[in-house]
Symmetry: C2
Subunit: 668 residues, 2 copies
């Protein structure tokens, strides 16, 4: 018997879901009937392409994964918040600044959510955003290069969970605190003064419409709740943003019981247009706030990190009519806006029904002041006044809802391990299918946009157990693909995922594939250490710092012999890949490095820092099989004792060694 | 025009493969006809299992990947030589020692080859070995837990490429130097004294037949060539090991030209039984050699790293009849032994034919001294005397050969991007299929064993280009699955892979799946910092070192509030997962850590080190979605200024805070 199950059940009991045991994940019913043509529906024959790119958050791996749908094949892992030995991200001198934060270099984060950029509420295929949950951050990946282009830290925050959801024209990407903490003022307070001292914030990060560059426009101070998820309005609700929050009890211990005490928590509705006006009108004030802002320049092929020092904070006390609270049963996770922008679906993970709110009614209730008291001084809209309807008996543990192009909604049910399809207008349940097991988020193709594509839906499950061949105690997580083109949902594929597939967004392949770049043009390379031809290769010394300007091209590293390095030298290998062909990266590694390798794309320069701490001969080589003579693409570094009289010299192989002891910069 | 192509072509011209351009990867012929039932052949319906586990090296990502075959689904990435933010490998205190080396902590390596353990030459499903190419090492993964159990460094080596191939009963796993270097003696010599001063070694690492523990039995000093791959004999050739070598020219610069000067390089045949006898007879000597030996204990849940100081070296001058050289055209990559042990196939990557050597003839040539001179003092066997036959016109750039259960061989052709099937007995070509593009290794199910399973073959390609939807300049690498059950090979699936799928071995699922463990038993947990129940949780201080003995169980971390930490403290969070259910890991992360998270399997303890460098309130939480109330599985750490009078205290949530200022170790 799970020694904590009583505690857990007591929380559940309050919600009238008394008989649930999390230990029996397997739904009782038979598995969904597998249609005979499922194989042909998911099979992408050699030489053919998937229909959709699926951008999947990696959860606790800190990366973003790209899957092809319907095949479920992993097309690429894009490193975002975690170091990635595979291509040197976070190890090369050029990429290290991407992982800088206000408290130094951080090699990891917990990437939960994905937001593809939109124009008029439809995917435009330009960028994909992701949140860092542990060190509060938002990242932007450029979909031309599939590279992390920018990371901005969110100050006055802890647990950036309700993020990076975006407004319809990608005007803003948002960030809300999952954990409230002391904001400004004295940070060293007793934890049990939570109710007095702990606050939340939500941040609106402006996205430049042409470059994508992010800047924190303003933050809004909020009550000390836990924000979970959020969604922007659409169409008529364009000016609003909806944040789900739990722990309106403001508990600071035993949250699994104490944050589930009330019947209803809230969805917080924020009029961001009004907030924008308040910010412009000088209603906020600049407050001290240290946060890193990191940008990767794909022309210089290097990242820069700037530490910002203040941020504009709006106190809602000074900003009337900006924030309203909508009661929502109970500990809501998802707050999802349908394609028309009229309906807002709350998914109270401990609730036995799914409330659907009407934007029109919300506006009426605000106009008519149909309030039901206040929360921390903010008006609470009357539940019945803003309710469109309740989906009754949907299942247990509703978490998240997405939409198709035919007026249907699909809600994931964590506790009862199923997906429920229901009609938005009449809130009637239409169909249900099992998931294996314990689904978290789901994703309909284009599901959060104004024009969903439908066709496929994917369940991202939290528990895998027996779905695949076992791999010891640690298992891949389970995703399941459903055909939703007909009236009934049909499970057609199980596919495992890396990390935790927390959330995902899918986009038709044609919106991205033709803009995807294949190489970097060598003539545009502005890395200060680039050698744009073998004639530009050199080795220079400045004190104990040695710079090797190296080139890589099939099948040679130039220089391939280097001598005159002394023990204690710090050697920077700046390797430029001279190739201008698609898919001919080179790699570089050297023996005895306490570092990784670097992988250099055609036209690019990357730098590996090497501490020459031992005397001897250390081979280096290309790590990415590039040609029939890849294995011969190697060289040697000679490290002599400190004070040795071996002069700095290097070779392109023609007339080595050649020494010019006057300049200490030697060319054969 | 590739500015280096003249240099490259001059090397190729010597080999009579003059007209090859690496830039045009796409074979001219039409793609292999896709059989109409290919979809059903590779489709594994939801709830069904793959037939084979495929253990795939990750190349430059340093990890090992496990794929299901025939679906091509990635079942798991097993971290081996590189840090892995996804589960805290190389970040947790328990796993950090696994990446220790003689030159400190190294966060990366280049994992090239896989060897599944065998008994009588057949897979026994116990362990899988992998080589570290950059820092010379061999790793052993335990197939009960799919965890890296042991890593041993190889001294007197550089570029451990021809590794970790094993003998028939897993008596030894071997390691040969890809790069020759100065071995013993003065390591600081001019690089152009290569011919005088640079040597190779091959190492025989004994594997304990019951525990799998590795120890270096002996090393053999060899000529200064580059060893590429190797294979043990089988059956009649059981006592022998065959190593391919290139750069018998002993060039030290411009290897793509200078190491391709000779018509033939060699396969080095080593009588390891004789070597073993010489070692036992005291023919070797102990030489200084610093190398790390790291073992992960799955009962203590922690790794230890020992630095060894010497190794037994055999000088072949003192060991007659142990080593012979077999001429092999040209720069051989693969040296592969057929299931009977009679035939050894050399794959000279610049050769226009594939030589097949006869073990019987090799023995006759040795007995009759049918030599053709010497290489560095070792007898060279006469090519014609040991040749079984030559596969004529197989294609361009033969790299690697595996075998089926019907007397057929399959050789990968890098330059002409194809696989050629041929009959071992009459060396006649039977079939050829294209690969997309530039295949490196291939893998037949059970292909390197005495009893191949056949049925499927996989091409691991080096160039991907247009095989999948584009993902910017960096692409996943391409694997292709072939049905080889009939006379003709049929391509049935493209599947992308993580890292570089350098080599792989596949094993029938039933040989592993029933031995795979699901949890660690909590009562067997011997981690000294384990709390085996919430009653055992505590927080202790010793100077500025604080130890938190924490438990995780759905849906609570105990303690969940901790105060009395002072700025500058080093806090160790020892988190024990109390769950005893399959697939209920918990994770742990804390804000402002300059570290990763940890992922803790049921019954296990893992430790995260946290430097309390800032004053404030820092939330911690479970990072692996575990229950409906996972989001509530959180707590707070309060860090006060140094010298603060806030006493050390913590909470299980019941009567917090409670303070005992006398002991500084406080329990409510």
């Amino acid at each position: 018997m799970n020694p904590n199950s009583n505690r857990f059940l007591s929380a559940l009991a309050i919600t009238a879901i008394a008989a649930v045991s999390l230990n029996s994940c397997k739904p009782k019913g038979a598995e969904a009937a597998i249609s005979g043509d499922a194989a042909s529906k998911v099979y992408v024959a050699p030489g053919k392409y998937d229909e959709f790119y699926d951008f999947v958050s990696g959860g606790f791996n800190g990366q973003m994964s790209v899957y092809g749908i319907p095949s479920g094949r992993l097309l690429r892992i894009i490193p975002v918040f975690s170091t990635f030995a595979e291509n040197g991200y976070g190890f090369s001198e050029e990429t290290k600044p991407m992982l800088n934060t206000s408290h130094g270099f951080v090699p990891w984060d917990d990437l939960h959510h994905i937001a593809l950029s939109t124009t008029n509420g439809e995917h435009d295929g330009r960028w994909v955003f992701a949140n860092g949950n542990n060190t509060p951050r938002i990242a932007r990946v450029d979909l031309k290069s599939f590279r992390t282009a920018e990371i901005i830290e969110i100050p006055n925050s802890a647990g950036n969970h309700s993020s990076p959801f975006i407004t319809e024209n990608t005007e803003y990407t948002v960030a809300g605190t999952r954990f409230s903490i002391p904001i400004q003022g004295n940070p060293d307070v007793p934890i049990n003064t939570y109710k007095q001292n702990f606050k939340g914030t939500i941040s609106f990060v402006k996205v430049d419409s042409s470059t994508g560059h992010m800047n924190i426009a303003f933050q809004i101070l909020t009550p000390g709740v836990n924000f979970d998820l959020s969604r922007a309005g659409k169409g008529k609700s364009h000016d609003w943003f909806f944040f789900s929050c739990y722990n309106s009890e403001k508990a600071n211990t035993l949250l699994e019981v104490n944050a589930s005490a009330k019947d209803k928590d809230f969805i917080m509705a924020v009029n961001w247009k009004k907030a924008e006006q308040y910010a412009k009108a000088g209603k906020g004030k600049m407050v001290p706030a240290e946060y890193a802002h990191n940008i990767y320049d794909e022309v210089k092929h290097q990242a820069t990190s700037t530490i910002e020092k203040q941020v504009l904070m709006l106190d809602p006390k000074d900003c009337p009519d900006m924030i309203y609270f909508i009661p929502c049963p109970k500990s809501p996770h998802g707050t999802d806006v349908d394609p028309t922008g009229e309906y807002i679906v709350g998914s109270g993970k401990l609730a036995a029904l799914i409330p659907v709110f009407s934007f029109t009614k919300i506006q009426q209730a605000i106009a008519n002041k149909t309030f039901d008291g206040t929360f921390d001084g903010f008006p609470i809209l009357k539940y019945e006044a803003v309710l469109h309807g309740e989906v009754q008996k949907p299942g247990l543990g509703p978490l998240h809802t997405e939409f198709d192009n035919n007026g249907n909604a699909y809600t994931s049910m964590f506790v009862s391990s199923e997906i429920v399809k229901w009609n938005i207008k009449d809130v009637k349940v239409l169909d249900r299918v099992p998931t294996y097991y314990s689904i978290g988020h789901l994703s309909v193709m284009g599901g959060p946009t104004r024009k969903p594509y439908g066709k496929y839906m994917i369940a991202y499950n939290k528990i895998t157990k027996d779905r695949y061949l076992p791999t010891g105690p640690e298992l891949a997580q389970s995703a399941q693909l459903y055909d939703i083109s007909g009236d009934k949902m049909k499970m057609i594929l199980d596919f495992p995922t890396v990390g935790e597939p927390h959330y995902a967004e899918a986009i038709p392949a044609e919106k991205i594939r033709n803009n995807s770049i294949k190489i970097y043009k060598i003539e545009e390379n502005q890395n200060p250490y680039a050698a744009k031809g073998e004639a530009q290769t050199k080795v220079t010394r400045n004190g104990n710092e040695v710079h090797v300007y190296m080139t890589a091209i099939r099948s040679h590293l130039t220089p391939d012999n280097i001598e005159g390095i002394q023990q204690g030298d710090v050697v920077y290998f700046h390797v430029t890949n001279l190739e201008q062909d698609w898919d001919v990266p080179h790699g570089f590694a050297i023996k005895n490095a306490n570092n990784a390798e670097i992988l250099i794309m055609p036209g690019e320069t990357q730098t590996l820092k090497y501490i020459a701490d031992k005397v001897g001969i250390f081979p280096f080589y290309c790590t990415d099989f590039c040609s029939a003579l890849h294995q011969e693409m190697q060289g040697y570094l000679r490290v002599s004792p400190k004070g040795s009289n071996v002069a700095l010299m290097f070779s392109t192989g023609k007339n080595y060694p050649a020494v010019d002891t006057t300049t200490k910069t030697v060319k054969p």
